[in-house]
Symmetry: D2
Subunit: 133 residues, 4 copies
Amino acid sequence: MTVRQLLEAHPRPTIGDLDALVRCIEACGECAASCTGCADADLGESDVRDMVRCVRLCLDCADICDSTRRIVARQTEPDLGVIRAALEACVAACRACQTECRHHAEHHEHCRICAEVCGRCEQACKDLLAALG
Amino acid sequence: MTVRQLLEAHPRPTIGDLDALVRCIEACGECAASCTGCADADLGESDVRDMVRCVRLCLDCADICDSTRRIVARQTEPDLGVIRAALEACVAACRACQTECRHHAEHHEHCRICAEVCGRCEQACKDLLAALG
Amino acid sequence: MTVRQLLEAHPRPTIGDLDALVRCIEACGECAASCTGCADADLGESDVRDMVRCVRLCLDCADICDSTRRIVARQTEPDLGVIRAALEACVAACRACQTECRHHAEHHEHCRICAEVCGRCEQACKDLLAALG
Amino acid sequence: MTVRQLLEAHPRPTIGDLDALVRCIEACGECAASCTGCADADLGESDVRDMVRCVRLCLDCADICDSTRRIVARQTEPDLGVIRAALEACVAACRACQTECRHHAEHHEHCRICAEVCGRCEQACKDLLAALG
């Protein structure tokens, strides 16, 4: 995978565990795309009035996943306090979005998929937090 | 100001204190622009090798300020846990970036300016956190 | 203003016209904030089903304004083809969003404000395009 | 893949060709991650003074790829003029970044990888432009 190859070609040692880092970057990218798509699919549903909370939490989650993906991907001169705080914000956003998407999983397949993706991203962020020590 | 007018025209009441919210949105926007500009000015300096940490922390801070600005600006169906975690990440990023920029403030005017802007943004995020209770 | 001070402190000369550049950076920042706020206010309206196109075009416009603001703010080693293409995308997004917001300006004050802000941003991008030659 | 599943679960028909759309969304996500990583790796190199143009074009490309990825992923109430302009900006950014990264491909493996990824993203954007008609 490209992300792993790039990190292996980086001139400075990777922070923490390479496997945990690659999983986190990929999970944040997948979750940002999924939340952008789920918010948009919500807007296209005939019951959009019932999906307003889902749209909003998906937008928040996409924004935080995109910024967290960039921050953890950077290996040069890291500030661990910033990285930890970004990962914790991402955990909070993924959890809130997953909870809301699960409420709609039975009648909207995109919400079922998005809840799963949020769950994987939350776990990947927690694993990287643990690996950072 | 446009941000205040928009929030006053919002169909649902603003979360917490309107003044604190407007200041936070504006401070995050100013800080994102300042950090983008400072990182770029660092790249143009002849001593760029000494500015690498400053570039990196400015990039992190710009990313977090942009996502935080979007998240706190949303008033519909908020999740206070997500908003607080985003604000806390923004405080951490502003503080780290400000500390680094201050080290270069005497020889790079853009770092002096950026350190001040980061300080204002850190305070605005803390004030909004306090107002959210 | 901070953006102007930062650009004046930049070690390399500003691309094109400083006034046009400052206005464009500030207009993109204002428009990104306004579109984020208008999309969110739309979601809070009781007629949200009629506002779906407005939400969508506001989200597109906020995304393009944020990336354009960052790209035009960078003065080091610019590629004018990239800058022009970003500005042209921003013009297209602002125009589409403005047209849609205007349709709702009479019954939603946030749309009236947002249409005005989009119009100013479209003009600021066109002026910078003209100044780049 | 998640992106394809989400688009297949969308309540409104996909714009243009589903295969071209999925490839474009995935290529933009890969390119944003690669450019973020390459810019950061450049900052960690001992010859960072020679990599300044590469850092800058990677940052531009990451910003445009992230916004383009979001815009093309949205299927509800699209404005084709906005989508085309975003894709054209992405083509310009990928081409400029690829050209610069290729200059460094022999001595920096991350630039060799990033140039390839930019080339794939440029092609995926062109293919989606063609599919949109």
